[in-house]
């Protein structure tokens, strides 16, 4: 390799090659050549490690390697060191390099000077033993050189060396004791020589590494930076740091900004979280609590609790007396309960109706008493009654609508036995009672008052004939009133309909007729009045004021009704009047008094009158009297109840067919149903049928029937709007609007005078551009007309004029945060007011951006980790994103 070449080649070549190879090799050579003085100093140091070097050389000789061939060459020292291998050689190079760099630092120029003598020598001896020659000659030359440079005597450099040489030659030259020449020439001591003996010892590798590092790295320490620059760097670092720190707030701030509402309400202390905590804070306040606490917190009990609880049983002991007493009490209670049960069972088994009636009565009495005593019970009772009435109105349970009632009606009431009939009638009366109560309530304001007044009049009028006289007089007055008084016809509602009005008129006429008849009767009766016996009149008087009954309308009516009932009862053959025995007590007494069979009475009023003579005449008069004003009252309550309608018809019927059939005239409800179910059905219908009946009956003049036919609807309309042509008007109007909004283009005209003299105008007509323009304008107008929304809607005008009023309801430009018109319009589409939204939605719709309470100190924001996960959760909640948390847990809102 390089070593081999060195041997053969001339010195000059070597140096040249070395230059080529690089500074490392050259430097090493240079050193070996030049710094001989130094080498001598080294030799002195080398005295220690000489032996190992020699040993190595011996080893080398024994196992010659490729490198070992050149062991006696000029680079012997290198070889010897390279005994381990190539690595070591390179290592050696490293050391040399270090040296070289140091050299370079010292003085590169000097080095070149040193090389010159080498060339010179090359010229002299290019032999093998060059080194030795060198070595031999060197001292003199070198010494001179040094002398030249330093100005010191050569002895100062070389003297010592020679001395050393001489001294070291103590033994004969051999392998183990090399000569000084050999040592001088090749045996330079490297740091490796020093290191080698340490090989294998602890810390060696570290030392080696350090060495290696030191050899490689020679970075100079920089001079300190200027203070301003340093500060700037610091500031930059600080800024970066604080920037990074502050960025951590970003998600929190973002969340707050995006939240529709920020809450800065007071932090509410929720207090204790667990039941145990709450219980531990409990302090007894009331006496009872204190007593309980004292018992519970007895030291004994507490102790027992703290141990195993066994002692609790001991503390829990009860005296025998207590137990006994309790048992006795319980037994007694049980016994009482049993007895009560038994009694209830027994009572339930009793079949006697009388008993049950009495029981019922007792109960009702008790209830009444309780009502009177206790407002609560009264209220309850009223509620119950109200409920019953409402139920009746809703279900019409007692109006022959049940299966049972329908069946009976189908089979005919005649076919039934008495009890069924009674039940039937009772049911109907119950219905009447339940529904009529409303009438009584509603009429109470008008009719009750009057009745009261009448009653009082009657009562005060003594119990004599005068009373009867007075009654008749009054009746007369009333009939007169009816005759004279013009009942205003209703102008609105159902009764204002033409056929209703007609019906009403007819009925009024009938009533008038009746009234006239009645008047005559009154007259006659008044004449007879002089001979009236007092006792009978007193009877009548008594009848005038029936007690314990609900009062409906005028007292006359009451009279009428009672008699009716009486008749009904009697119709059933006087069997029993249990159902309204108490109610009709007076009537019964009356009946007894007359002592006549009621069948007779039913036959004919005129007969009746004759039979009873004066005494009963008045009574009967009173009947008539009672019936007479009825049409009027019927007017008053007509719309209030169908019941009164019935009465109306009844009265009219009475007039119509009194002579023919008394059963119709004096119809208990049952009687009527019995007679003709059709009329019963009529009851439910409106009075139109009624009037028809009347017309058919022909008792009252129904007027001549004209041959006039109603015109058809279309005809009517045509006739009504004969004068004006609406469609034409509309078309004109529309045209006007169109003209206004899309004006027709002006016809092109020429200015007079232009080209007149020459006749050009006439000849050419209008210029073509004018015509073109006109055409274009026309076309434009047509197009715009076609585009109109109402182009295809013949009956509609849709104005396309933009209203000034509408202008202020539009924004001129799109408001800032919105990006499109649609979004903006959508944002204000849904109303947010309480009228348009349920209460639950309003709060969220109207919530302001910031909710804060006056007087609550708002603390600045506190850091809180808003991780992605948490935000995802918040998004998932979805329904409640209104909650904007501000300060983490502090600002969270429940």
């Amino acid at each position: 390799m390089a070593e081999k070449g060195k041997k053969e080649k001339s010195r000059g070549e070597i140096t040249q090659r070395r230059r080529r190879d690089g500074g490392e090799v050259r430097g090493r050579k240079r050193k070996s050549l030049s710094s001989s003085g130094k080498r001598k100093e080294e030799k002195k140091r080398r005295s220690g490690p000489r032996l190992p070097n020699a040993l190595k050389r011996e080893l080398e000789r024994l196992n010659p390697t490729v490198d070992g061939e050149a062991s006696d060459g000029d680079d012997e020292e290198i070889d010897s060191d390279a005994a381990v291998g190539n690595d070591v050689y390179e290592y050696e190079e490293g050391v040399a390099e270090e040296e070289s760099t140091r050299n370079k630092r010292y003085d590169p120029v000097e080095n070149y000077e040193f090389e010159l003598p080498e060339d010179f020598e090359d010229w002299k001896v290019p032999s093998d033993g060059e080194e030795d020659d060198d070595e031999n000659e060197d001292p003199g030359r070198h010494g001179r050189l040094l002398e030249d440079i330093t100005g010191l005597s050569a002895d100062a450099f070389g003297g010592k060396k020679k001395k050393d040489l001489i001294i070291s030659e103590a033994y004969p030259e051999c392998e183990f004791n090399p000569t000084g020449d050999i040592l001088d020439g090749n045996g330079r001591i490297s740091i490796h020589d020093l290191l080698d003996p340490l090989h294998g010892k602890s810390g060696f590798s570290k030392l080696r590494k350090d060495l290696h590092r030191m050899g490689k790295k020679t970075v100079p320490t920089l001079a300190p930076v200027a203070r301003t620059d340093q500060e700037r760097i610091e500031r930059k670092a600080a800024y970066e740091q604080s920037k990074k720190d502050i960025t951590k707030w970003e998600p929190l701030v973002k969340r707050n900004r995006e939240a529709p509402t920020l809450f800065f309400d007071e932090d509410k202390e929720l207090g204790y979280s667990t039941i145990g905590a709450i219980a531990s804070e409990f302090t007894p306040r009331t006496d009872f609590e204190k007593k309980m606490a004292s018992l519970v917190n007895q030291s004994e009990v507490v102790d027992a609790h703290k141990r195993d609880g066994a002692r609790l049983l001991e503390l829990n002991e009860v005296s025998i007396e207590d137990v006994k007493e309790r048992q006795e009490r319980l037994a007694k209670m049980r016994d009482l309960l049993f007895r009560h049960e038994m009694k209830a069972k027994r009572v339930k088994k009793i079949k006697s109706k009388t008993y049950h009636r009495l029981l019922k009565k007792d109960k009702s009495k008790a209830a009444e008493a309780s009502i009177r005593m206790d407002p609560e019970a009264a209220k309850e009772h009223a509620m119950k009654i109200e409920f019953k009435r409402a139920e009746e109105r809703m279900t019409l349970k007692h109006k022959n609508s049940s299966k049972w009632a329908k069946r009976i009606l189908k089979r005919g009431l005649d076919a039934q036995d008495d009890s069924t009939k009674a039940a039937f009638s009772e049911q109907l009366s119950q219905h009447a009672a339940l529904t009529r109560k409303i009438n009584s309530i509603k009429e109470s304001s008008s009719s009750d008052d009057s009745s009261d007044g009448d009653d009082s009049d009657d009562m005060s009028a003594g119990s004599d004939q005068e009373a009867a006289e007075k009654l008749i007089k009054k009746a007369k007055e009333k009939t007169l009133q009816i005759l004279e008084g013009d009942d205003e016809l209703p102008t609105s509602g159902v009764l204002a309909l033409p056929f209703m009005v007609r019906g009403l008129k007819k009925r009024k006429e009938a009533a008038d007729e009746e009234a006239k008849l009645a008047l005559e009767e009154y007259e006659s009766s008044l004449k007879q009045m002089g001979d009236t016996s007092k006792s009978r009149s007193s009877d009548k008087d008594a009848k005038g004021a029936p007690g314990g009954k609900m009062v409906f309308g005028a007292p006359e009516k009451v009279v009428n009704r009672t008699t009716k009932k009486e008749k009904v009862n009697n119709y059933y053959g006087d069997s029993d009047s249990e159902s309204d025995a108490d109610a009709n007590a007076d009537d019964n007494t009356l009946n007894d008094h007359t002592g006549k069979s009621l069948k007779e009475m039913d036959i004919d009023p005129s007969l009746l009158r004759e039979e009873f003579g004066f005494s009963h005449d008045s009574v009967f008069k009173s009947f008539g009297d009672a019936e007479d004003p009825e049409p009027k009252t019927a007017y008053e309550v007509a719309y209030l109840s169908s019941d009164s309608w019935k009465k109306v018809r009844k009265s009219s019927d009475a007039v119509k067919g009194s002579e023919a059939d008394l059963n119709v005239r004096k119809p208990g409800i049952v009687a009527q149903t019995e007679n003709d179910p059709e009329s019963e059905q009529d009851d439910d219908e409106d009075s139109g049928t009624d009037s028809e009946v009347e017309m058919v009956d022909g008792i009252l003049s129904s007027g001549p029937k004209s041959s006039y036919e109603l015109p058809s609807q279309a005809e009517l309309i045509q006739r009504a709007f004969a004068g004006d042509d609406v469609e034409e008007d509309f078309i004109k109007q529309k045209e006007a609007v169109l003209d206004e909004e899309n004006p027709e283009p002006e016809k092109p005209v020429l200015l007079p005078g232009w080209g007149q003299w020459t006749g050009v105008q006439k000849r050419r007509g209008l210029p073509s551009w004018m015509l073109k323009e006109h055409e274009a304008a026309k076309q434009k107008r047509d197009e715009s007309l076609k585009k109109r929304k109402d182009a295809h809607l013949n009956n509609v005008i849709i104005s396309e004029k933009l209203g000034k009023k509408a202008e202020k309801l539009h924004t001129k430009t799109l408001p800032y945060p919105y990006t499109s018109k649609e979004v903006f319009e959508q944002s204000i589409r849904m109303p947010i007011g309480p009228e348009f939204n349920p209460v639950t939605a309003i709060g969220a719709l109207n919530r302001p951006e910031v909710v804060k309470k006056a007087g609550v100190i708002i603390k600045p924001i506190e850091y809180e980790d808003v991780s992605v996960h948490e935000r995802g959760e918040g998004g998932r909640k979805g329904s409640a994103p209104k909650q904007g948390k501000v300060n983490g847990k502090n600002r969270s809102r429940k």
């Binding site: 500031r235 600080a238 800024y239 740091q241 502050i246 947010i832 804060k852 708002i858 924001i861």
Partner: protein, 451 residues
């Protein structure tokens, strides 16, 4: 037969008192009410008008100082107590509820330039042109009731330092406070000398504010037209930004620790993000003279500014123009403003030696609101907000009566800016494309950012 009836129990539908409400049932079918938009628009219009009618923002003035009010401080722990310092060295503690002086803190020889209170409200720190920092013990609310006769207090400590102070601010939840003067000094309550001093350039620092959210970051403004950010953790300044005009005061957004707003001498306020100081996030314009002081509402949604033009304005945190302007005939140059701790009042201190108490919302109804009242207010507010873009509502909401000088100055400013804009446009039109760059206002006033 099926009969439908309405069943209502009397218990539920009977009112207990005549003032009680009748229960109303509504059918919310939109087809039944087709006019709802019109109805709500009219309501919005009426609400806007009513707002104008009820706008009475001025609550009262607090008279007592004998020189211009130069500094104010809120008591973070007490809502109704406010400290104020005046140019003659007088420091007073005010009870806002009664608008009376609770006590005085005599001691300063020159003007009090800075006032601040610790977060617990126990210590008041004041500094002034007499080069002293004084720490005061704030009396307890109950304590002051007792010795109303002797309502003078002595300072806890007085630290004399080298140069005059211009401002002071206390750290949130900490023991440190910073003073501004020839340099920025960080003090501890218990040390007579600053524990740290920052100096970046030789110009006077005129205001200092700690970041309430991030207590180790503070910002200062200097007479070299700069705004500087400091970080105490690294005990070093962080960034400096120089504007065309001086920043008189600045305030951090308490709810957004990265943002602060600077009250500038050029009539505008600039909101900055600490991380991007090369441009303002928002420019708040409307004042017609230098903005002297600024304070954020604790909600972080708006801030109040006091100006040399004798007005106080309220801005949205992201609004380019003010939401409200407050002025009175007697109010002179406003030197300091504060938002109350609950965000519903504003206190201004001005040259006329008075402190003034204002409502933050001019037409807000004070006192206890019934739930129905509150709901109605909310509804009207929401409706007004919804239709605020429509011209009628907008006009009414925006309209303000201004003092003549301010009105004139504003229109003059408008003319000037318009002229400038026109000139720029023309210049741009007549020069090579791209040779003149149009800088937005957010960047225009910034000269440079120094590392």
């Amino acid at each position: 037969m099926k009969v439908k009836v309405i069943s209502r129990s009397t218990d539920e539908f009977t009112r207990e008192r005549s003032q009680d409400l009748q229960r109303v049932f509504r059918n919310f079918d939109p087809t039944l009410r087709t006019q709802e938009k019109a109805v709500e628009y009219v309501r919005a219009l009426n609400a806007a008008k009513l707002d104008k009618i009820f706008a009475r923002p001025f609550i009262g003035a607090m008279d007592g100082h004998i020189d211009a009010v130069s500094a104010m401080a809120k008591n973070p722990a007490n809502l109704k107590w406010l400290f104020s310092g005046s140019m003659d060295g007088d420091i007073r503690l005010w009870d806002l509820a009664t608008r009376q002086t609770v006590c005085q803190f005599p001691g300063h020889q020159g003007a009090v330039r800075g006032l601040t209170a610790s977060t617990d409200g126990r210590v008041l720190v004041s500094c002034g042109t007499d080069s002293t920092v004084r720490l005061w013990n704030v009396p307890l609310p109950s304590h002051t009731q007792d010795d109303s006769s002797d309502n003078d207090t002595k300072p806890l400590a007085t630290y004399v330092w080298k140069s005059a102070f211009w401002g002071v601010d206390h750290q949130e939840n900490g023991e440190l406070f910073a003073t501004a003067g020839a340099q920025v000094d960080i003090w501890n309550h218990n040390r007579s000398q600053p524990i740290n001093s920052f100096e970046w350039g030789k110009d006077t620092v005129i205001s200092v504010r700690f970041n309430p959210g991030e207590p180790n970051v503070l910002a200062t403004s200097g007479s070299d037209r700069s705004i500087t950010i400091y970080d105490l953790r690294l005990s070093s300044p962080a960034r400096k930004m120089i504007m065309m005009t001086k920043t008189n005061s600045l305030a951090w957004n308490p709810m957004e620790p990265m943002n602060f707003t600077a009250a500038n001498e050029d009539c505008n306020c600039y909101s900055y993000d600490v991380r991007k100081m090369n441009e303002a996030r928002c420019v708040h314009r409307d004042h017609v003279s230098a903005v002297m002081d600024i304070d954020y509402s604790p909600t972080g949604r708006e801030f109040v500014t006091g100006s040399y033009d004798r007005t106080v304005r309220i801005f949205q945190y992201n609004g380019g123009h003010s939401r409200e302007i407050y002025h009175t005939k007697r109010m002179q140059r406003v030197f300091c403003v504060k938002f109350s701790n609950d965000g519903s009042y504003i206190i201004s201190g001005s040259d006329d030696t008075n402190l003034r108490l204002w409502k933050a919302k001019a037409s807000e109804q004070l006192g206890v609101l019934l739930p129905r009242e509150r709901k109605n207010h909310e509804y009207l507010e929401a409706v007004k907000n919804r239709y605020k873009h429509l011209p009628e509502v907008k006009r009414i909401v925006r309209h303000r009566h201004l003092p003549k000088p301010i009105y004139k100055a504003a229109s003059l400013r408008r003319i000037m800016t318009d002229a400038q804009r026109k000139k720029d446009e023309r210049r741009r039109a007549h020069s090579a494309p791209g040779s003149i760059v149009n800088k937005p206002l957010r960047k225009r006033r910034i000269i440079k950012e120094i590392e």
